[in-house]
Symmetry: C2
Amino acid sequence: MADIKYEIIKEIGVLSENAKGWRKELNLISWNDAAPKYDIRDWAPGHEKLGKGVTLTKEEVEMLKEIL
Amino acid sequence: MADIKYEIIKEIGVLSENAKGWRKELNLISWNDAAPKYDIRDWAPGHEKLGKGVTLTKEEVEMLKEIL
């Protein structure tokens, strides 16, 4: 996992924050210089470390919005 | 990962389906008999295999709904 390059293109929102300051966030992220995807993931304070998460396409985000 | 027990309590919706029939789904799932959590994850046809994903609390889902 150490070789993955990413850039947070847009911080869309924070879903929650735990006692250690890790936040579950929805962001728009470019992985390895690819086209940006939506991403729900845990992040350490200041985005210094990242946890597991899912990436979502624009279409998947739109379906999710419809379902919720 | 083989020892994780889960039960799909409610199938809420399908976000997408790929060429191999795997679907990205939003479900309510009980992991290891714990209280059910919302879950966005890839699933093989018939829920025979599961991929990576994120679990979300009710509060996180509500924040997500607000953000989207």
